[in-house]
């Protein structure tokens, strides 16, 4: 199945693009999609595992976590988790 990934701040700057498709096996989870992204854009791995803030994840506009299931045509948003400024 294919999932559209939208990369938010500051992740898209590391990847060089705001959005990308990832191909996944059936019953794949968000964690699988993130692993593919880390392989495709190695510097993203450092961003995702910086020890300070794990990305906030949304699948089809619902709050998600790495264990969340994906489905064909799903949209995954990966954004920095912060609030207050």
């Amino acid at each position: 199945m294919r999932v559209m990934v939208h990369l938010g701040e500051p992740y898209w700057r590391v990847a060089g693009q705001h959005q990308t498709w990832v191909a996944l096996p059936p019953n794949a989870t968000v964690a699988s999609a993130l692993r593919i992204l880390e392989t495709r854009y190695p510097t993203l791995a450092a961003e995702f595992h910086n020890g300070e803030a794990k990305p906030a994840l949304f699948v089809n506009n619902e709050v998600a976590c790495p264990e969340s299931a994906l489905c064909e045509g799903a949209t995954l948003h990966v954004v920095w988790p912060a609030s207050g400024g």
Binding site: E9, E52, K54, F58, N61, V63, A82, S83, G84, G85
Partner: protein, 642 residues
């Protein structure tokens, strides 16, 4: 030790004295020390509830943080405090920039201003002297113009804190400005300044601050800078500024939109769009973050709060127009948060037909840039319908009774930030109990969004907490913890962006603060003692609020947050349950060791009385000042009548 100047603008009398060391140990400086003097002066004036915010007896206090102006990282900040003309309660605004460092270098850590100048005036600080100067040529100027004129008058290197037309006209949400954007914005401190005929305070620094151990302070700064620069949050803030916060709130469905009737908005306000108008990033005194944009439209900013409240909240999407409004409110000296909230309130009242064209003097539709631009200017100059909105939350009396149900304010202070708190319950509790009203910078538990592991949260907060942002249980201790550390940061003059717990668990905490204080001031503090300072400041602010007549019933949220579920995106359906909110409030009072009705235990009140109601000599001085002020004001009125 710091110096405090007592200034009576009515008589022109100035007394300068060192701040007693026992008060420095109890309150450090900045916000805490301001609160100490605020309570002292309000009680000395009689009944705090009866004090007219625009009267000569309302003390206006400028206080630099204990570390402000030293080389400690991000030690730029000061607080401006008074009885708020906006909330009619505790008024306190925090600000960065370069002014406070210059004020300290000119010899003053704190200015306590009472009375009213006979004519437009400004204070000039230089080499331990303080001069009251006539400001006739400055009155009527915008904030940048006034600062430019003061630089012309006193030379390059003069740094000023001024009011714009909004402050002169006593607009209840008028700010004190320094630089193009740095703003002591909350609670209408600019209006208090205007009521005293005080256009500005200009400081010519130059005298390096003495520190206890220069080598130790230098080494500590170097070490802490390296630590901070390793933080990814600090790096991102330095690249994008606070606009990067818009995206996650918007994606979540938590961006206040059209007066919180909606909860997500256009992507045109995201950081990557704001960045297109940014010339470069700027910093405050001793800053290692550099979070402030200089924009290509001639101003600085916008911050996330302004993007949200003068963008999404009024239904305005074009990036350039939002930046233009940002520059406008800064030039006129208006608080962007209050202005955006009050405009959105009026727009919803118009949308619902509760006010009509004849009252608003024309259509007032969402996203109408030209109308909003004109209306903001009218607010600052108190013209037409703008004169009504200039009353901020106090404008309720001009609208039908049901209008209050649409007002996004707590304790009559409009909500500061653009984040809708119906989803993250700890954010809601924080806003409800914040001492100055609806404001996220008093205690926002930003770590709650990170869903940290149990052991990490226990290590940070020291009490059981919940990792579920939608849970009501396990939040009170988290909010109380943030109350305390943010209060200490404000007392020291440090920026939240380097303070442990503000968007990252890897910033400066109590141990770092203790190292800085020891090196800069020579006073030893343990981690426990510093947190106790934070607790004392929160308790003092609670007591001030109680003396303003606030009760547990005021620790609440806008009606909409309880009654209207969020309409879309990931937060759809979330709202605040009244019963669970009350239980969360009970937990919070327990965490703070307050009584169930929100009052302080007697032993704590006794301690605060000991620290805030002495020495007698100051009481006597104040009484004389106020009596003289009232006499002179009365004489002027009698003269005018003749």
């Amino acid at each position: 030790m710091p110096n405090t100047a007592f200034i009576d603008l009515t008589s022109g009398r100035v007394d300068i004295s060192p701040t007693p060391e026992h008060l420095v140990r109890a309150f450090l400086g900045g916000r805490g020390m301001n609160m100490r003097y605020l309570r002292h002066y309000l009680l000395a004036a009689g009944d705090p509830q009866a004090v007219d915010p625009f009267g000569p007896e309302n003390p206006l206090i400028f206080g630099a943080g204990l570390l402000t102006g030293t080389i400690a990282p991000n030690a730029a900040r000061f607080n401006v405090s008074a009885k708020s003309p906006e909330s009619l309660g505790l008024g306190d605004a925090n600000c960065g920039g370069f002014f406070a460092a210059a004020m300290r270098q000119a010899g003053f850590d704190r200015l306590i201003i009472v009375g009213k100048a006979e004519r437009p005036s400004y204070l000039f600080l230089k080499e331990n002297t303080l001069t009251l100067c006539q400001a006739d040529g400055l009155w009527g100027t915008t904030s940048p113009q006034a600062q430019e004129l003061l630089r012309d008058a006193h030379g390059a290197g003069t740094v000023s804190a001024v009011i714009g037309p909004a402050g002169e006209n006593r607009v209840r949400m008028a700010s004190v400005m320094t630089g193009l954007k740095n703003t002591a914005g909350r609670g209408g401190m600019g209006a208090v300044m205007g009521s005293k005929n005080l256009k500005g305070i200009a400081a010519r620094g130059g005298r390096p601050l003495g520190v206890a151990d220069k080598a130790a302070l230098s080494a500590t700064r170097k070490e802490q800078m390296k630590y901070l620069q390793g933080s990814r949050v600090v790096q991102v803030l330095g690249q994008l500024g606070t606009p990067f916060l818009y995206e996650v709130s918007n994606r979540l469905g938590a961006i206040r939109t059209r007066n919180s009737q909606d909860n997500f908005f256009a992507d045109t306000l995201a950081a990557s769009e704001i960045e297109k108008y940014s010339d470069k990033m700027l910093a405050c005194t001793s800053c290692v973050v550099h979070c402030r944009h200089r924009n290509s439209l001639g101003g600085e900013g916008p911050e996330y709060s302004t993007i949200g409240l003068l963008g999404a909240n009024i239904g305005l999407a074009p990036t350039e127009q939002v930046i233009a409004l940002n520059n406008l409110v800064n030039d006129l000296g208006l608080d962007a948060s209050s202005t955006g909230t009050i405009l959105a309130w009026a727009m919803e009242l118009y949308q619902r037909g509760l006010i009509t064209d004849d009252f608003t003097e024309g259509p007032l539709n969402w996203g109408d840039y030209e109308r909003v631009y004109e209306l903001i200017t009218d607010i600052a100059y108190r013209r037409g319908f703008g004169n009504v909105l200039a009353e901020s939350t106090q404008a309720k009396g001009f609208f039908p009774p049901e209008a209050a149900d649409c007002l996004i304010a707590i304790k009559d202070l409009p909500q500061s930030d653009p984040h809708d708190v119906r989803y993250i319950k700890s954010f809601a509790l924080g806003l409800a109990v914040a001492s100055r009203g609806a404001d996220h910078l008093r205690n926002r538990p930003t770590l709650d969004i990170l869903k940290l592991p149990d052991d990490v949260r226990m290590k940070i907060f020291g009490v059981e907490t919940s990792a579920d942002p939608t849970a009501y249980e396990g939040k009170a201790g988290m909010v109380a913890w943030h109350d305390d550390i943010y209060a200490v940061a404000d007392c020291l003059g440090l920026c939240k962006f380097v303070t442990h717990g503000f968007n990252s668990p890897h910033l400066l905490g109590y141990e770092h603060f203790a190292d800085l204080i020891r090196a800069a001031v020579g006073l030893p503090f343990t981690k426990r003692e510093l947190r106790e300072v934070g607790r004392r400041v929160i308790d003092l602010e609670r007591q001030i609020n109680l003396e303003f007549g606030r009760t547990r019933a005021d620790d609440t949220l806008p009606k909409r947050y309880f009654d209207d579920p969020l309409p879309g995106r990931a937060t759809k359906g979330h709202h605040i349950d009244r019963e669970k909110f009350q239980a969360m409030l009970d937990d919070y009072y327990t965490a703070r060791e307050w009584n169930a009705d929100g009052h302080l235990p007697q032993a704590r009140l006794t301690e605060l009385n000991r620290l805030t109601l002495t020495p007698r000599a100051v009481d006597d001085y104040l009484r004389r000042s106020i009596d003289r002020g009232k006499l002179l004001a009365g004489a002027e009125e009698r003269q005018a009548e003749k």
